[in-house]
């Protein structure tokens, strides 16, 4: 229901419309003295006007209840999420059969350019077709672009792709699919931005914009369609169920691990990917639910934040082994 259709008396509405127009003028940055005088005359002309102006002030106060540099990005970011939630509600769409299912990895090494990152490193690369690739810590990927396909083979670690329109597409040639293969299956980009990781015997794809089609290696003829805001874990036995994507699946590319009610053990396993040595936690606190944003480029700082905020302490067992326990 749109609020504007609900019952507000005509003259009250007119006053609010006028107040909103004055507000827009005031924000313009060129509200001259003459205009200010006209506005004040309008204000004093009627109690309805003053009441309407108080509403304007109420809206500003509500928006000002948080610092602008927090509220702005947070509210901008979330408008996309709402659409995702509604799409998730629409149910898990049955995927169309894959036209591209006959994909071949032409040559495991031949044309492939090997890209790697070290532990703690994160690299952004531009691919030959203009797509951007972000490689997370301790990752390896082969790039094979040929006449038929644009294929990334993720050997380990995590990547995020923002695809570009294929510059080679002409009227007489079909669009080359953009594919990411892991040992557990194949993902085809049907849109722009998604994140794939592989390791520990499984792969995960999280879709940030548009859609991705996933064909698990175990059931290649039964692909699944993921929408923005959804993720899927798949392994040698097939795919799990489609879930809401975790915030962390997107935020790593910006250098932070955003956790919302993430068990401590899981959080430490994530942070551990960005540092050398062993990061463990005491079983008694393994299930502690953590929310926060942790810098992955400085895991020492991340650990400090953790123990400052939660009733935890770190114990250095050896130089390369840190254990987290209850304070």
């Amino acid at each position: 229901m749109r609020p504007s259709t609900v019952n507000v008396a005509g003259d009250e509405r007119a006053a609010i419309r006028a107040a909103a127009t004055w507000y827009a003028r005031q924000c313009s940055g060129s509200f001259a003295a003459a205009e200010r005088a006209a506005w004040q005359a309008w204000l004093t002309a009627s109690p309805l006007h003053r009441e309407a102006w108080r509403q304007v002030e109420g809206v500003c106060a509500s928006l000002g209840s948080l610092p602008g540099q927090i509220a702005g990005p947070a509210l901008r970011g979330v408008s996309a999420s709402r659409r995702q939630a509604l799409r998730a509600l629409a149910g898990i769409a049955a995927a169309a059969p894959l036209a591209w299912f006959g994909y071949r990895i032409a040559d495991a090494h031949g044309l492939g350019a090997d890209l790697r990152t070290a532990v703690g490193e994160r690299r952004t690369l531009r691919l030959a077709d203009g797509s951007s690739l972000i490689l997370d810590t301790d990752s390896a990927v082969d790039v094979t672009f040929d006449a038929r396909q644009r294929l990334l083979r993720l050997r380990r670690g995590q990547l995020m792709v923002t695809t570009a329109d294929d510059p080679q597409t002409r009227l007489d040639t079909p669009r080359r699919p953009f594919l990411v293969a892991t040992p557990h299956g194949l993902c085809e980009a049907l849109g722009t931005r998604f994140s794939v990781r592989t390791g520990d015997g499984r792969s995960r794809v999280a879709v940030l914009d548009e859609q991705v089609r996933v064909a698990p290696a175990a059931h290649p003829a039964r692909p699944l369609l993921l929408a923005a805001g959804q993720q899927l874990v798949f392994d040698d036995n097939g795919a799990g169920s489609i879930e809401a994507a975790l915030p962390a699946a997107a935020t790593w590319a910006g250098g932070s691990l955003v956790a919302v009610d993430m068990p401590l053990a899981e959080l430490l396993a994530e942070l551990g990917r960005y540092r050398h040595g062993l990061l463990t936690c005491h079983p008694a606190v393994a299930g502690l639910l953590i929310s926060g944003a942790f810098p992955v480029d400085d895991t020492d700082r991340a650990l400090r934040l953790l123990i400052e905020t939660f009733p935890l302490q770190t114990i250095s067992r050896t130089r390369y082994w840190i254990d987290v326990a209850a304070a």
């Binding site: 002030e57 947070a74 944003a293």
Partner: protein, 173 residues
């Protein structure tokens, strides 16, 4: 229309449909913990509404409630994640207490609800001016809109927000 709802009505409803609703939610969410929480919340709503004995199509009714709860849950999670990410992006990130964080997320939810009916470009213009403090000229450059359009969108957004607050009983401060 009103039979008094008795504890038995709720118990019957719960026994007959709780397991089913939890399964339905689990299928939608893919997460058993969230499914259990939301199923519980859905029955709490029924309990509070005191209309259990009037419900003719319990599963339809429960899924309608549950869908609303899913949207709320996603919105809250998304806002909380965006809030934390915005905090982390500050030059000198501060670490809020759990109370501060909860209040901030509540405030964001309220603002987000107020902005909900706005078109995406109107919303963008309004946030750039109101939260980021950009001038109309800067907004026009960034969004490729005419200055006059920026001015119009600002008025549209404010009018919408005022009406929203009036209709949701927010008293002017």
């Amino acid at each position: 229309m009103n039979h008094a709802t008795t504890p038995d009505d709720i118990a019957c409803l719960y026994q007959a449909h709780h397991g089913w609703l939890r399964g339905w939610l689990r299928h939608k969410l893919g997460n058993p913990d969230d499914a259990a929480d939301l199923a519980q919340d859905a029955f709490m709503r029924v309990l509070k509404a005191r209309n259990a004995s009037d419900i003719r199509e319990p599963r339809n009714y429960l899924t309608t409630i549950a869908k609303g709860l899913i949207v709320d849950l996603f919105r809250r999670r998304a806002l909380e994640a965006e809030y934390l990410a915005a905090l982390a992006a500050l030059p000198e990130p501060e670490w809020p207490s759990p109370e501060t964080r909860a209040l901030a997320v509540e405030a964001l939810l309220e603002i987000d609800a107020m902005l909900a009916g706005l078109g995406s470009r109107v919303r963008q213009v309004f946030l750039l001016a109101q939260c980021d403090g950009l001038t109309y000229r800067e907004i026009a450059e960034r969004t490729q809109l005419a200055l006059r359009t920026v001015n119009k969108y600002m008025a549209t957004a404010m009018e919408h927000c005022c009406l929203y607050r009036l209709q949701h009983g927010k008293t002017a401060r």
